[in-house]
């Protein structure tokens, strides 16, 4: 069923063929023919953003909360360059996106035409793959291939640059099922010999630990299910990176909490002390490993990852398993059961006793106050008041992000969207809109810092226009809190440009956008204020004035190993040496 049509129509047709329901975009001269086609149909919803960066983060939020690829449409030149931060963010966090950009007509490429930019050149290092389509005949095939590449293997963002004349010209549309198979078919099944080796190690390990990451979530809900089954059956403890929260439930018995630079004491010490580390879809990021030389010195390490280049990149492992987390977990579980469900019971009992001692330290303890709202307290209350609800959380980047990861509990995958790899301030607000677009009836909360939130606050206009009742829960410390914390610990308390001055009145700002503003500064009022926010049927900007100089603990200072963690203010004197200070 190949049909002749214009390139612009092909774009819309191909998106429909791919099952796309919504795209996030912003028009301009070089994409007018596509916008004309969008106007003439009703199957695909278009969300008009206020800035292209917002469009990409919205698509990320949409993708991470649904497991489907997010789709973005931007114009040439500035439209495309505005998308670059979002593309890089998606690349580092392995989020499947298909970004379509307009380009000047083919005969003008290279002439410095109006709104011409070398979009494929600029986006090459921040996409998994990109294409400049110069021939309408190749357009539909390229779009279908783009969806394949974005979603198969390790997911990631792809971009298709479409010159305006290619959009106007007529060509033959190739439907999705007629596309010839591409050679890009990453392997999903793990090597059974390696899996067997791992299972053997699991049977005898005295101090085993699951260290899981975003790969479990990317692999799909079945992978999380298998992981839960495996953890329950073996009784091994489990920790996760920032990106993997929710794959194992926070209420689960074996849950140690998040690990890493601001991870929990018990999780980090378990990483340091384990004798078998089973990395499932995580990538030994530097926020996790701390000083490489002293990283988990006594463990055998297994690493399951769909991307072979992640294996042995920073940490040498003993059992490398290249494959999709879901497939590998299935084989592992089957094999382990078939061999008699063996574990080292005695060792495990001792290991848990040790872990429970670490847990008793109660590392998230903080000094609460009757007068000011402590950010940790605000999140504890938010957690308590929203726990059983159909809830999705996004965050910005900074201290509030780390506190959210520590104090909110996630029972399911795809419920937690945060910028982990790139650490992009300005991610959370648009991401929350993208999530809400996908889940119109859910409670979607962006836990924000005031500074990050301002970076993409224009998207409140989008939230209003498309009636997405997103809740912006701003922990306002009037500081670039995370920067301030580092300056306190590393730069002799010289607070160079790390405070937020001339902040807007957030309640008035909410009114200006036409939504609801709430301000709260007294811990006694907090519960009622949070309930007001939840009950309000539209978008809310919640200005939660919190303690200004609170530090985020635990903290593993840069360049330190896991067992040299700071637990509170008393530990912080002169801890970070000159060597650590050069690290970020």
């Amino acid at each position: 069923m190949t049909k002749a049509m214009t390139g612009a129509r092909m774009v819309v047709q191909a998106l429909k063929d791919q099952g796309v329901e919504v795209i996030f975009g912003y028009p301009g001269g070089a994409v007018l023919p596509i916008y004309d086609e969008i106007f003439q149909q009703n199957d695909i919803r278009h969300i008009l953003v206020r800035h292209e960066q917002g469009a990409v983060h919205m698509a990320e939020g949409y993708a991470r909360s649904t497991g489907k690829p997010g789709v973005v449409l931007v114009t040439s030149g500035p439209g495309a360059t505005n998308a670059v931060t979002g593309l890089t963010d998606a690349l580092l966090d392995s989020i499947p996106l298909v970004v379509l950009s307009g380009q000047v007509p083919t005969f003008m490429i290279g002439t410095d035409g109006f709104q011409e930019a070398d979009t494929v050149g600029i986006t090459r290092p921040c996409t998994k793959m990109n294409w400049l389509v110069k021939d309408t005949e190749k357009l539909s095939e390229t779009i279908h291939q783009a969806f394949h590449v974005a979603t198969q293997g390790r997911p990631g963002p792809v971009l298709i640059d479409i010159p305006k004349d290619v959009q106007f010209a007529t060509g033959t549309y190739t439907p999705r099922e007629k596309i010839k198979a591409t050679h890009y078919q990453p392997k999903v099944k793990g090597d059974i010999d390696q899996i067997t080796r791992l299972v053997e190690m699991m049977e005898t390990a005295e101090r085993p630990l699951f260290y899981t990451g975003g790969g479990v979530i990317n692999s799909g809900p079945a992978a999380s299910q298998l992981l839960r089954e495996m953890v329950e059956a073996t009784g091994f403890p489990i920790t996760s990176t920032l990106m993997g929260l929710g794959s194992y439930p926070a209420s689960g018995k074996a849950w140690l909490g998040m690990l890493g630079m601001h991870g929990l004491y018990e999780a980090n010490l378990a990483m340091h002390g384990c004798d078998l580390m089973i990395n499932v879809g995580a990538r030994f990021d530097d926020r996790i490993t701390g000083r490489i030389k002293d990283f988990s010195p006594h463990s055998k390490k297994a690493h399951i990852d769909i991307d072979p280049s992640s294996i042995n990149k920073v940490i040498r492992v003993d059992v490398p398993i290249v494959g999709d987390v879901g497939h590998v977990l299935e084989d592992m579980l089957r094999l382990w059961k078939a061999r008699g469900r063996k574990v080292n019971k005695e060792g495990l009992a001792k290991w848990w006793a040790q872990i429970n001692e670490w847990r008793a330290v109660n590392c998230l303890d903080f000094k609460n106050s009757e007068k000011t709202i402590k950010p940790q307290y605000a999140l504890q209350r938010l957690e308590a008041l929203t726990k059983g609800m159909d809830r999705y959380i996004t965050t910005e980047v900074g201290q509030h992000q780390m506190w959210a990861a520590q104090f909110l509990g996630f029972e399911d995958p795809n419920r937690w969207m945060t910028s982990g790899g790139l650490g992009t301030m300005g991610y959370g607000l648009p991401a929350s809109i993208g999530v809400q677009v996908a889940h119109p009836d859910a409670l979607v909360i962006n836990v924000a810092g005031e500074a990050s939130w301002l970076m993409n606050m224009q998207e409140m206009g989008t939230a209003m226009q498309f009636r997405t009742p997103v809740k912006q829960f701003i922990l306002n410390n009037e500081r670039l809190g995370m920067v301030r914390q580092w300056q306190e610990l590393l730069h002799g308390e010289r607070y160079s440009h790390s405070w937020s001055e001339s902040l807007p009145d957030f309640v008035k700002l909410a009114e200006a956008f036409g939504c609801k503003g709430i301000k709260c500064s007294d811990p006694k009022d907090l519960d009622d204020a949070i309930m007001d926010m939840i009950r309000y049927p539209g978008p809310v900007i919640f200005d939660c004035l919190v303690e200004k100089h609170e530090n985020c603990f635990p903290m593993i200072p840069s360049g330190k190993p896991h067992n040299e963690m700071l637990l509170g203010e008393d530990d912080t004197q002169g801890v970070i040496g000159a060597k650590g200070a050069v690290l970020v």
């Binding site: 090459r124 400049l132 990453p186 072979p308 280049s309 294996i311 042995n312």
Partner: protein, 186 residues
């Protein structure tokens, strides 16, 4: 096929290899990378090297299969064993890359490079240059009364050696193609 998209048994330096990964010793490896012959692919491969701080000592590229739209990129690179492993894994996972071969690790390979040398001089040194060219089986492809252009093919080491000899004899300019390489045997 191994997960690295390298033929089974073809590489003793795969991700499963347990040589001392922390060996500080740098090795030189010749990689043959088969890619889709599409615009931007070479830029993507080169961008990988510059973006991640890997070395390129030599790089050649040309279409080798017109029908199948395949180009072969031959890269000579340097790094510790761990870095070489990373380079191969990073190349292999790129969408337009069909195959990566580590010719250095896969057993004996032939390596050839073509170079042109312009040597100017008179009298004794001119005769000496011609004599050495004969020993090295270099061809004279251009000559004036005061200069020669020699064409020479061989391993990079042979070309280096020829260049060293020509330098005192009036070497003016040199152009090298970079290495082309194939594994020996069928």
């Amino acid at each position: 096929m191994s997960p690295l998209n390298i033929k089974k048994g073809s590489s003793s330096h795969s991700a499963y290899d347990l040589r001392d990964p922390n060996s500080p010793l740098e090795e030189t490896h010749t990689l043959a990378v088969l890619v889709a012959n599409e615009s931007g692919v070479l830029a993507r491969v080169i961008g990988l090297f510059s973006g991640r701080g890997y070395n390129i000592d030599s790089l050649t590229v040309a279409e080798v299969d017109h029908e199948g739209h395949r180009s072969r990129i031959t890269i000579v690179t340097r790094g510790t064993p761990a870095v070489i492993e990373q380079i191969k894994a990073q190349l292999a996972r790129m969408v337009p890359v069909h195959d990566v071969h580590d010719l250095t690790a896969e057993g004996p390979a032939v390596q050839r490079e073509l170079a042109l040398f312009k040597v100017a001089g008179k009298g004794e040194s001119r005769i000496e240059a011609l004599r050495l060219a004969e020993i090295f089986r270099a061809n004279v492809v251009d000559s004036t009364l005061e200069s020669f252009v020699f064409e020479i093919t061989g391993t990079p080491e042979k070309i280096d050696a020829f260049g060293d000899l020509m330098r005192p004899l009036g070497l003016r300019e040199m152009a090298r193609t970079g290495v082309a390489a194939l594994s020996r045997g069928a």
